[in-house]
Symmetry: C2
Subunit: 455 residues, 2 copies
């Protein structure tokens, strides 16, 4: 049995939805279909989820948003018409959405979640109606009925353990289940959405709950590439990579598959297959527990910009028990999450995403560090990029660091930071933003030598 998830671009138009149907019927194992909200039809298009967020915002502020409501319903109507569905399908969506938007606004966060989730929910109903119109034994299943109950923890939404048992019962249902992605319910039946692109997570939870043999994730690329195709021309496709490798690559900007979505599949040991709705014959990329290391130590190179570092130095810092902990506490009290903490003997740097800070907060933090920790020097450096060189077994490969740092030196890229030694599957280099592209190209050339680098 397979769980199959389709992303927004795979469901953006009637033409796309027809491809989805062909994919589902071509393999009788594809029994649970998880759908996103309609995505972009072309690069200038607006995703339904974005329209919903805007619409909910206007309702909260002005109590109405007629044009946006029409635009949203219009997206569904276009698809419904392309698929020759009866008008009643669109009308039901219009009525339900309007009622929802007019509903209880006493808790704006819950209101917003419910409105956002309607994008997937209505799409699942529409797709189920289409499947039925084509003679399939298919039906929409709501997450509350299925027992997808979650708790809202800081940082991410967590599925309650008992949900998995409840979801197992979906196996017993005959026919094809069409399930909306992106959200679950709290124990008192409030809608809780996952983080953005969270339909991947729903698919993974269902795969875990139903003990599926495979979780297929259909998107609009043939494979996960070893490096961003906007940086390197025609890069190597990755046939197979491990959960850990995927997680490290997503962290640094690989957005093909949602990182939280890996957990449920990983815990149940269910392989994930990334495939292309527009080219279903392509093998795609498999995410697995273990893989052969025959292609050398490196499987992918990713880069992400927008980091800054807070440098703190104090003579004999090293001897002060609790210095690092107190420093991290100052950040925590300002609600800042940090990424890495490279350190010297008497100095320490904290690398964090700079979008979290503005000038005021920076000033406040710098002065707290001076005052409370009696630091000798505190300074903030902006515009850093982190580059991840990822591959299983890298840790035990003498010389990978040498190859990587030599490639960077040849490209005249100065290494601002290296963080290596905790993760067994990655090596991290900090460079200035302006050097990021050059650095990635140089590393790609070193580890995937036959490639052509974009100039």
């Amino acid at each position: 049995m397979k769980v199959v998830k389709f992303g927004g671009s795979s469901l953006a138009s009637g033409v796309q939805v027809k491809k989805v149907l062909d994919i589902v019927v071509s393999d009788p194992e594809r029994r649970i279909v998880v759908v996103s909200a309609p995505g972009k039809r072309h690069s200038d298009d607006i995703k339904v989820t974005d329209l919903l967020i805007e619409c909910a915002g206007q309702h909260l502020e002005y109590g109405e948003a007629v044009e946006l409501e029409n635009a949203i319903v219009g997206r569904y109507d276009n698809i419904a018409q392309d698929l020759h569905l009866p008008e009643s399908v669109t009308e039901q969506i219009r009525t339900d959405l309007h009622e929802l938007l007019k509903g209880d606004k006493s808790n704006p966060e819950r209101y917003l979640d419910a409105v956002k989730a309607s994008g997937e929910d209505n799409n699942a109903k529409l797709i189920a109606a289409y499947f039925q119109s084509q003679g399939l034994d298919a039906r929409y299943v709501n997450p509350w009925e299925a027992g997808l109950i979650v708790s809202n923890e800081p940082g991410y939404v967590k599925v309650l353990p008992e949900s998995y048992d409840a979801l197992y019962r979906l196996r017993e249902q005959s026919g094809i289940i069409v399930f909306p992605g992106f959200f679950g319910y709290s124990e008192n039946r409030e809608v809780i959405t996952f983080s953005r692109s969270g339909s991947d997570i729903t698919g993974s939870i269902l795969a875990n709950g139903t003990k599926a043999d495979l979780y297929e994730n259909f998107t609009d690329v043939d494979a996960v590439y070893s490096v961003n195709p906007n940086v390197v021309y025609n890069p190597t496709e990755i046939r197979e990579l491990t959960y850990r490798e995927m997680r490290e690559l997503s962290y640094a900007g690989f957005s093909v598959f949602h990182d939280e979505a890996l957990i449920p599949a990983f815990r149940a040991g269910i392989p994930v297959n990334i495939k292309n709705t527009n080219n279903p014959a392509a093998e795609g990329t498999r995410i697995v527990n273990r893989r052969d290391n025959k292609n050398g130590p490196v499987i992918g190179i990713a880069g992400d910009s927008g980091f800054c570092s807070i440098y703190v130095s104090k003579y004999l810092m090293n001897r002060e028990i609790g210095f690092g902990r107190r420093l991290l506490q100052i950040l925590e009290e300002s609600g800042l999450s940090y990424e890495h903490v490279p350190s010297g003997i008497d100095d320490i740097s904290i690398v964090l995403r700079q979008r979290q800070m503005d000038q005021d907060l920076e000033d406040k933090i710098v002065s707290r560090i001076y005052e409370e920790l009696h630091a000798d020097e505190v300074k903030i450096e902006h515009d850093l990029s982190l580059i991840m060189v990822v591959g299983e077994g890298m840790r035990h490969n003498v010389g990978t660091t040498a190859k990587a740092s030599e490639a960077l030196a040849k490209a005249k890229v100065n290494i601002e930071m290296i963080n290596q030694g905790s993760s067994e599957v990655s090596m991290m280099f900090g460079v200035k933003n302006k050097d990021e592209t050059k650095a990635i190209q140089a590393l790609y050339e070193e580890f995937f030598s036959k490639a052509t680098v974009l100039k």
Copy 2:
């Protein structure tokens, strides 16, 4: 005006003390002489400080230690006889020491400090007597009289700011001052010793307080070497290095000069000159604020063993605000100080000195991390060495990392950890203990290419 400090081996015998006199009189700027306790005369000898610690321990336990007392007084007597000093000098030391050992034991820590400090104190009196016997205008000055008042802070002893003003008045005294190293007094006149080898610290404090032009530190080597001479044959001598470089090298095992001793000199910008009592004509090594970088980016390579790392992994750790801080708090609550915290995305390692831990403490910490932080995996890796490659300006030198890691790869040394990016003057590699020597030799060969490596 110069402050001159002589280490234990420079004062271990009459022959050595005569060299000290020659050095002092050869330069009229050498006005303040700081002395250690008599050190080793040969490699199997026992330092007076070690005899004193043993003796105090026996007195605390049994109320007497006749043989040890005799051994200690015997060391002074040997020197006094070599120098043809009157017997009264030794007898005074015998009486004072006995009285001290029989004294107040209600606070064993203070008792031990007072006994240890007597090694330097009696030696200063002896040296002053010898200088006078040779017709010099010299006198012993006690730290309490001079106003060297300290507070006993966790981690290290701190000089009270007003001490520096008091010490400035030493400039006004005529003749040569002989000052005992290693200790100061609390505000209520209790003896507080500095950490081991703390006479270096006294010299630095006096240099700062008296605004000396130079702080000369006489020991038994011609210079600070760029690498441990037991690991590499006949290594390059360092002519000049910065305070920061010296600090980083001492951290990883360079014991020529005490790291705490750098602070007062550094704060006052007073250069430190490490020289050899047995070869005073040699230039020695100068520790300064700034130096030329003409010798390439690396000035020294040091290595230190006995580290372990606690590895913690948890899926999506990265999203949990406060995870790192709580982890460090667990260590702090067990009184552990850590050195470095390399991190991946969902894993973090804490590198610390393993002598701080035994099996019980390790088990306790591992289970606290599992229970309180819900980690997926916790493991402790033992027997790591840290290798520091040190040099000013290294940070802005494209390619230093590449050279270093290539040298290690060629020597078949696997890099367990790299920590680079906070300190501007060093790069740190973690390797297994067994690879430490091989790693240091390979790095030395790379950065100081003409050298002969010991096989």
